[in-house]
């Protein structure tokens, strides 16, 4: 899967979980510091990514991912 496709789908999940617009989200954005994700939303994001891509990720490592760009790269390892 192309990186751009992964990124678009990641942004879609983030926009849904954090109730924001995909166009307002940048690759360098930190989930907590820039997008305001709390601990519950972080778990929802991991679950959302797994469902979107039909994958099962290492949850501890997934929760350590801090930025949108890193999340795209992390998911790319599984798809």
């Amino acid at each position: 899967m192309e990186r751009n496709e992964i990124k678009d789908r990641v942004l879609k999940v983030i926009a849904e979980v954090l109730d924001t617009e995909a166009s307002l989200i940048g690759e360098d954005d930190n989930f907590v510091f820039d997008l305001g994700a709390d601990s519950m939303q972080s778990l929802q994001l991991v679950a959302g990514f797994e469902e979107e891509f039909g994958i099962e990720m290492d949850e501890d490592k997934a929760l350590e991912v801090q930025t949108v760009g890193s999340a795209v790269d992390f998911i790319a390892q599984y798809v």
């Binding site: 954090l18 924001t20 907590v32 510091f33 820039d34 997008l35 305001g36 709390d38 601990s39 801090q66």
Partner: protein, 712 residues
């Protein structure tokens, strides 16, 4: 103080007295720390601007929220970071960019969780250093300033405490909430209340100096779980006492966590970390408390009443039994029952019924009204022989409890002497106690607590009046150089202790008395040396491979002739060679045997928090059984050295008990001071034992009969 400490003092001003506070990482979820902190500030009626920073939120609790702290146009005095630890560094970086110099980091997940957290804490310090930021925390509950001009509750404590003059600093956040609840029930107010958590940047030392200057604070309370810089803590307590007259009360937890590691010296074994902490606190005038209740019992005495001039108390009671109990408690705490002047006795006789006891303790009898209490208090307060008054009340059917409480309040206002109260019971006396508490009259459930509080304030008063002594002068440079050379030589040879002849030589460089002696490397030399030393002599094996000389037959005492000396030399050599064939032997140390005297121990140990610690006590082979020792942190003043000697239980033996001639106590004090100099000059000495130090009669000095020096 170093520059960073000076910066902290400047930045603490805005931490405690901000005009605007940004809560960075706030959210809208009730019951979470980020929300509760914001809510505490709001409900505490903060007298300034509140600015929530919360990405993704336009407003919180009706207040406009900002995405970043850098988006705020107004100047920000204080930043309170409640973001998770993983992004606290980003928040602090932005505080730096915005010019916020004063920060509290509430977030947990730093040093306390391990290596990754420690790394995050290090990052915070780097950012703080780069921007000139000072921060409290991380991993803390926050702080409270009750000053009506500020009213800042930047914490997740459930309620804002009442305003008062007690400053409270705590390393534990959870304990803070319990203390606030306890104090609320007792009607105790605070000036400042701080949880400092991991103390990564601003430490308890910085906070102590801030409270020293804080006009609203009269008493400082400290709860510590670890002492990081014991010497700075001691200095802070001394500075606070000398410059502001404020007492520092401390609870240091972890008394029972004494390490069980085997010590190589008696001093190492006798001076445990909590013993050292206890001694250091006492030396610095820090009042160590056992528990929260005791701490507040004493704190309220300092906070509400004047410090007594001396320890003479008058007891006024409406029942004989409680009067006796209070007398017992007072005497146990080292207080004296005041002897009333003739004038006082006359006044009491005139005011009280014939059945009353007009001697101290004064019994105003069970049917006493407020008038009788008033007359008794008036007479006692006016007496020059009375330094403080204890008012005891038991609730009898004719006792007007509230009226008597109000009378105590009036008397306390009228006279500049302390009055402490104990209204005994619970339900019946509750309203009277409330009157006392509302009017800042120290009240105690138990006479024992009352007497302890009075005794403590009295002792602190003595410290305030005592002029600070000076530590004894430095060692002559030549002595220091020679001693360093001896220590270096042993270290270069790869050994972690000195041989006795080296140790004795080192002691002598510091003027510590040891008998004349020298190293003999042959029987002939030993025979010659005994003539010079003078009989009787003692001979000891000198080998880096022999730590315990007696165990290998390496010591012969009481040698009276040259022939005995030759035989002793041979005996030592053959015994050591037989028991330790591989031992490298330097020779035999020959020294004059010290005549009899009292055996004491002098020692030195290095503590990670307090540095060099001096030990003195009853010596000899039973030193670890009697454990009759005193400890002090070096350097020492002459008064402190004298206190060490007087403090041991066996002191009367040295002072000349039961008709014995007094020993040379002055020479012990000199020896302690010289050991203190040696301790300060040679950090490479890890532990040192002089055991026994034999103390001769007055004027005849003391001598180190055996010495062990362990080096790093």
């Amino acid at each position: 103080m170093p520059n960073r400490s000076a910066l902290h003092q400047e930045n603490l001003e805005k931490i405690f007295n901000p005009s605007s506070v940004a809560v960075i990482g706030a959210n809208t979820k009730k019951g979470t720390v980020p929300f509760d902190i914001l809510y505490s500030i709001l409900s505490g009626e903060f007298n300034g601007l509140i600015l929530p920073v919360s990405p993704g939120k336009k407003h919180i609790a009706g207040i406009k929220a900002f995405k970043y702290v850098t988006d705020i146009d107004d100047p920000i005095d204080l930043g309170v970071i409640v973001f998770p630890s993983t992004v606290a560094n980003l928040a602090l970086e932005q505080c730096g960019q915005k010019g916020v110099k004063s920060v509290i980091i509430i977030s947990a997940g730093f040093r306390e969780v391990g290596e990754k957290g420690a790394e995050r804490e290090k990052q915070l310090l780097e950012i703080a250093g780069k921007y000139g930021i000072s921060f409290i925390g991380p991993n803390c509950l926050g702080l409270i300033n009750t000053d009506p001009a500020v009213r800042l509750n930047a914490s997740f404590a459930r309620q804002m405490p009442a305003a008062g003059n007690i400053g409270f600093l705590s390393q534990s956040g959870a304990l803070c909430t319990a203390v606030l609840d306890y104090a609320h029930a007792k009607g105790i107010g605070f000036s400042k209340f701080v949880s400092f958590g991991n103390k990564a940047d601003i430490s308890e030392i910085d906070l102590l100096y801030y409270l020293m200057r804080d006009e609203k604070t009269r008493v400082i309370l400290l709860y510590l779980e670890e002492v990081t810089d014991g010497r700075a803590l001691m200095q802070a307590a001394r500075d606070i006492r000398e410059q502001s007259g404020k007492p520092v009360l401390a609870i240091k937890s972890g008394r029972t966590q004494e390490g069980a590691s085997a010590a190589a010296s008696h001093t190492g074994s006798l001076a445990g970390s909590d013993d050292i902490c206890e001694a250091a606190f006492e030396q610095a005038g820090i009042i160590r408390c056992e528990h929260i209740e005791e701490m507040f019992n004493i704190a309220t005495a300092f906070a509400y009443a004047p410090i007594p001039e001396s320890n003479r108390v008058a007891i006024i009671t409406n029942a004989g039994g409680p009067g006796v109990l209070t007398t017992d408690a007072a005497v146990r705490q080292g207080l004296q029952l005041a002897r009333f002047s003739e004038e006082t006795t006359k006044a009491l006789k005139k005011a009280l019924p014939n059945t009353a006891n007009i001697q101290n303790p004064v019994d105003v009898i069970g049917d006493a009204t407020a008038d009788r209490y008033e007359a008794a208090m008036e007479a006692a307060f006016r007496d020059e022989n009375v330094d403080g008054v204890f008012v005891i009340l038991t609730p009898q059917s004719m006792t007007d409890i509230d009226a008597i409480a109000l009378q105590v309040v009036e008397a306390a206002k009228k006279f500049n002497k302390p009055v402490y109260t104990s209204f005994m019971g619970e339900t019946d006396v509750a309203s009277g106690i409330r009157i006392l508490q509302q009017n800042n009259i120290p009240h105690y459930i138990l006479p024992e607590s009352m007497a302890k509080a009075f005794s403590t304030t009295c002792h602190f008063g003595q410290l305030l009046r005592r002029k600070a002594g000076k530590t004894d002068g430095a060692t002559p440079a030549s002595g220091r150089l020679k001693a360093t050379a001896i220590l270096q030589h042993a270290a270069e040879e790869g050994f972690n202790y000195l041989q006795e002849y080296e140790a004795v030589e080192l002691l002598k460089e510091y003027g510590l008395p040891a008998p004349e002696g020298a190293l003999a490397t042959s029987e002939e030399e030993a025979a010659r040396l005994v003539q010079t030393a003078g009989f009787p002599v003692v001979m000891k094996i000198q080998s880096r491979d022999v730590m315990h000389k007696v165990d290998v037959g390496g010591v012969v005492l009481n040698i009276q002739t040259e022939a005995e000396a030759r035989a002793a030399y041979q005996a030592i050599m053959s015994s050591v060679s037989a028991k330790l064939p591989e031992a490298r032997i330097q020779g035999v140390y020959v020294a004059r045997q010290i005549p009899e005297g009292e055996e004491v121990i002098l020692g030195l140990k290095r503590d990670p928090a307090f540095g060099p610690v001096i030990l003195f006590g009853l010596g000899g082979i039973f030193v670890e059984i009697y454990k009759d020792v005193s400890l002090r942190v070096a350097p020492l003043t002459r008064e402190e050295a004298m206190d060490m000697v007087r403090k041991i239980k066996a002191y009367p033996l040295l002072a000349g008990a039961r008709g014995r001639r007094p020993r040379d106590v002055g020479s012990i004090v000199d020896a302690i001071l010289r050991l203190s100099q040696l301790a300060m000059a040679h950090p490479e000495i890890r532990e040192l034992d002089i055991n026994p130090l034999i103390v001769r009669d007055e004027g005849e000095g003391c001598f180190a009969a055996d010495v062990k020096i362990l080096i790093k």
